[in-house]
Amino acid sequence: MAEIITEKLSHVYSAGTPFESTALHDVSISIPQGQFAAVIGHTGSGKSTFIQHLNALLQPTEGRVLLDGQDINNDKYTRRDVKWKVGLVFQYPEYQLFEETVYKDIAFGPSNMKLSKEEIDERVREAAAFTGVSEELFERSPLELSGGQKRRIAIAGVIAMRPEILILDEPTAGLDPAGCAQIFENIRSYREKSGATVLIVSHSMDDVARLAERIIVFDRGTVVMDDTPASVFSRAKELMEIGLNVPKAAELAVALRDRGIGLPEGIFTHERLLAALLQLREGRKC
């Protein structure tokens, strides 16, 4: 069991100075074990601030964060322990690589957990396999690899801690389409094999629509929608108003509906759009 709950979470940066800014306001959310949830929102809407509360990197200005019913900010020990359970991959994680070799860098997290050498070795190899980092790279310096490889090594470094909840902040930002697809595939397979909860911040609506079971939409520090992809993307107009994209298929469905083509609601993947269009054609034929 690893259910994470936030209760009326608020966060104010630089409180009491002229730079004071409220980044989160009254966010109450509960994510059950094993769910694949996505967080979307305009830049500056508070997504990164929100997820850094879930492993106690940031402390709430108001409200609480509960993991399995326990306040994770109880004391400094719970604040540290939660990092093993909730693995957080930062945006552009390749900038945190520092070890001389790829192997040592992936092993950094598990070694901080004070595991045995064998256990660490097992986890490093497992994490590398999940993220498609070939073992031939283990003795290379991470600094001389390509951007996409670095990114996957950094993700492996978090997966090697075997977190029950894996959180990724825009893991595909700045990658080419093939690199994006590969990372989403890695995440999907990790979740399938480990049963972990996955929370992903992403701007890639097509992938989110395909993979996530739930979508949480942030706008200016508050949650404005929290529902299944079908319901969220059926409100395509509202999403566009707060500056978000919708999956290409949903956009097309809205445009077709505006021209009087009677498509049903809740279309947001290519497959469904195709099926609905075919169904319409069948209907006409009869």
């Binding site: 540290r80 991959v89 950094f108």
Partner: protein
């Protein structure tokens, strides 16, 4: 955390003090410091305090943010005060005590002097953006160019350093968070362990700082930057009437302080 360092931080605003020419403000601070060191008696200390308070009020700086700036120096201030209390000769406050009335007076004056010195210089950095500050400095020092002192290059370096301090702080913060998320521990352990714990921060920080420096150099050169010779500026610094008035007031203040010192007040 790291972000909350306010030492010398600029607080944007639109008061008279904010709008003064940076050159005026730099000169005024020099005048202020000279004036402060003329103070000997209570009346002259009172005058400097009054002037400082008026300037603070004019620039709409909250006393609490000023106090934050003074806080890191608190130890030195208190130490100076204690030394003065115990080591000044004079009439004891009670027969047989080593604490003297003169000592207490000296201690209060020394404390005032340090606090006023810090407040005065902070007033400059709180109300002047780093860019304006270095621009002003460059123009004030430009006569030295005749003596082949590379004034432009020096102030350019200074403004770049100032420009990148917040960036580097933000970056350090980010890398620290990322390593903490992997269980790095910066707070406990022996001295050696803690020094070792800094490695995961320093390595990425240096890597990105070098990369950033390289990129900045390329960006500057591709826009034909070649140093100070013949360079014009987008924001011309032009002295206004308020600058003249401020400078005249500053000189009057200095004169008053010198006169007060002569008459021993």
């Amino acid at each position: 955390m790291l972000r909350d360092v306010t030492l010398g931080q600029y607080f944007p605003g639109n008061t008279v003090v904010h709008r003064l020419d940076p050159r005026t403000k730099i000169l005024l601070v020099v005048i202020y410091i000279i004036a402060l060191f003329q103070a000997q008696g209570w009346i002259s200390y009172g005058l400097v305090t009054l002037v400082t308070l008026v300037c603070m009020a004019l620039s709409k700086i909250k006393p609490s943010s000023m106090f934050k700036g003074v806080k890191p120096m608190l130890f030195i201030i208190v130490l100076t005060a204690l030394l003065n209390i115990f080591y000044t000769e004079g009439t004891p406050i009670r027969p047989g005590w080593i604490i003297t009335w003169e000592g207490i007076a000296r201690a209060v004056q020394m404390m005032l002097r340090i606090i006023l010195l810090i407040s005065g210089t902070f007033l400059l950095t709180y109300t002047t953006s780093p860019i304006a500050l270095t621009d002003g400095l460059e123009m004030l020092l430009s006569p030295l160019k005749k003596l082949k002192v590379p004034v432009h290059e020096m102030t350019m370096m200074m403004s770049m350093a100032l420009r990148f301090i917040p960036t580097l702080i933000a970056e350090t913060d980010k890398i620290m968070s990322a390593q903490k998320a992997r269980g790095a521990d910066f707070e406990t352990g022996s001295l050696i362990q803690r020094a070792k714990a800094l490695l995961p921060i320093l390595v990425p920080l240096f890597v990105s700082a070098f990369k950033r420096a390289d990129e900045l150099a390329v960006a500057m050169e591709s826009r034909c930057y070649h140093g100070g010779e013949g360079r014009t500026r987008m924001k011309q610094l032009i002295m206004q009437r308020r600058d003249t008035i401020a400078l005249v007031l500053g000189l009057l203040f200095l004169t008053a302080m010198i006169v007060l010192k002569r008459v021993g007040l």
